[in-house]
Symmetry: C2
Subunit: 135 residues, 2 copies
């Protein structure tokens, strides 16, 4: 539990530095990252107006963002753009990239991801995923 608390303190520290939210990490293999696989997840929460819910959910997304095969990370909320073609009804955007499909598969099977699925899946009403590979 102490370990967990210090983990979130570390995360919060990064957030405060403004450096955590968009990270282009070195690839897990130790090479310079070349992101070829994009995994973009949109979440619609059950209780989006509740600050405690939002804080918990953001912590969960940030913890997922630490999975080592992630080469690109952006955790966001809808921008204030509003045109006919824009869907701004979601509550959280979780955009991650991987060097390759193998990196994606490591993420899908990672214990932190399993934990997120188990502990957070009752917080959303809808989740929508778009996976894409580069041309």
């Amino acid at each position: 539990m102490e370990k967990r608390r210090s983990f979130f303190k570390k995360i919060a520290g990064f957030g405060a530095a403004g450096a955590f939210l968009t990270i282009f990490k070195g690839a897990y293999a130790g090479n310079k990252a070349k992101t070829t696989f994009i995994h973009h997840v949109y979440f619609w929460l059950k209780d989006p107006e509740n600050p405690a819910v939002r804080q918990k959910f953001e912590n969960g997304l940030r913890e997922m963002g630490t999975i080592e095969s992630i080469s690109l990370l952006h955790i966001g909320t809808p921008a204030d753009t509003d045109r006919e073609v824009i869907d701004n009804t979601y509550h959280y955007s979780f955009l991650i990239g991987f060097e390759d499909r193998k990196g994606h598969d490591l993420y899908q099977e990672h214990p932190i991801h399993d934990k997120f699925r188990n502990e957070y899946n009752d917080m959303w009403t809808k989740v929508l995923v778009y996976d894409s590979v580069d041309l």
Copy 2:
């Protein structure tokens, strides 16, 4: 016309080198890019099986990707993942990032973007946009 041809040859060269498709460019202001604004566009084409249509459309997306305020670029097609929560019915994913909202607005008003809208908008049946800003 000659100028255009040499532009696409340049693009094709980048593509062959495998370096064009995911680019983390220096920000337009000359600083190291910190991408805070994500603009993710999904396209459904009218004639997705037609190789000439696809080639033309890909060229158009690549040309859009040269707009100078873009700090992150990934042009893709659906991955071969397939789960209940995944939408893999789209034909092209155009993911771009900007240092800030100003970068996004420059892109929206850019002549290359106007040209794309005018010359390509009869090629798709549906376009869907998600804009997000970091936490």
